[in-house]
């Protein structure tokens, strides 16, 4: 290889691998949404517990949705499409529609009285979304997060009302706040590992 050093050629191979991995990455920059929705769920709980307001959940959910859309469009840094990305995106969009339809319908109809049913349904739906996403991405941490949601869904079916709420609050902390922060740290590490490009 007279014109190219071995080091240079190896760097080219590393660059190709790094860029292909970067293009395929589907988990980037979404850790913050888990944290945001975790905080929103806590805020809705606190509001509805302290003020007994029927508006606590719908208003908090709509504000969190608006914040998600605003932050996502500000952070986007450009668009790219992959089949895997569309599959993962579809799961979370379907989750949002399911939550709004189910809990909105139950809330408006006044049949939203049993905290066990609410906690179990919320945990099971979040387990479904995290499980599907984790299995598609082969991301063990997210599959573990899904298993935690499913366990919480079962736990919420038993015990007193307070105990089922405690199970839900603990699951939100682990599945939204802790998992979201873990995702953000993983993203920051992946950004640091990226190979610099000089034309």
């Amino acid at each position: 290889m007279p014109d190219h050093t071995e080091q240079e050629l190896k760097e080219r191979l590393s660059l190709i691998e790094s860029m292909i991995a970067e293009g395929r990455r589907n988990t980037e920059s979404w850790g913050w949404t888990f944290v945001l929705w975790g905080v929103a769920l806590y805020a809705a709980f606190a509001w509805s517990a302290l003020k007994q307001s029927p508006w606590a959940w719908p208003v908090t959910a709509l504000l969190a949705l608006a914040a998600t859309i605003l932050i996502a469009s500000a952070k986007r840094g450009g668009y790219r499409a992959t089949t895997l990305g569309r599959a993962i995106g579809s799961i979370w969009i379907a989750l949002a529609i399911t939550m709004f339809a189910l809990f909105g319908g139950l809330g408006v109809s006044g049949r939203f009285n049993d905290p066990h049913v609410f906690a179990a349904a919320l945990c099971a739906i979040l387990g479904l979304a995290n499980g599907a996403s984790g299995l598609i991405l082969r991301w063990k941490a997210q599959v573990a997060c899904a298993a935690m949601w499913w366990l919480a869904a079962v736990a919420a079916c038993f015990g007193t009302d307070d105990q089922s709420m405690i199970a839900l609050l603990a699951a939100i902390f682990l599945g939204q706040i802790v998992f979201g922060i873990y995702g953000m740290i993983a993203e920051a590490r992946a950004r640091k590992r990226r190979i610099p490009i000089h034309a």
Binding site: M1, L9, K10, L15, I20, A21, G23, G77, R80, I197
Partner: protein
């Protein structure tokens, strides 16, 4: 002794190689996404993408979304083939030392 392969000069530039590799992993990508992933300046990125386009390795679709210009890039079959051949040539040039890569 077999002849050593030539490296395609269009693909060999670092930024062009990064762009082709990125585009090989996605269906379509916006200019701004490519810029974010490569940390390149608008001018340099545009110039390198133009070279890839002139070589027939990428196609560009320009449109307006909410009155803002949007450029969408896709790798072509020729581009995919050129990248594959480039990787094969690299591996051939590196030979046995490739296993020692960190």
């Amino acid at each position: 002794m077999p002849d050593l392969p030539e490296l395609n000069p269009v693909v060999h530039g670092r930024l062009r190689l990064a762009l082709l590799s990125l585009l090989s992993a996605v269906e379509v990508a916006e200019f701004t996404w490519l810029r974010a992933k490569t940390d390149a300046t608008d001018g340099n990125l545009g110039a390198q993408l133009l070279k890839l386009e002139e070589a027939g390795y990428v196609t560009v679709e320009k449109k307006f979304v909410r009155r803002k210009p949007q450029s969408l890039y896709r790798i072509t079959e020729a581009g995919r083939r050129a990248l594959t051949e480039y990787v094969q040539a690299l591996r051939q040039l590196l030979g046995p030392s490739i296993g020692a890569q960190s």
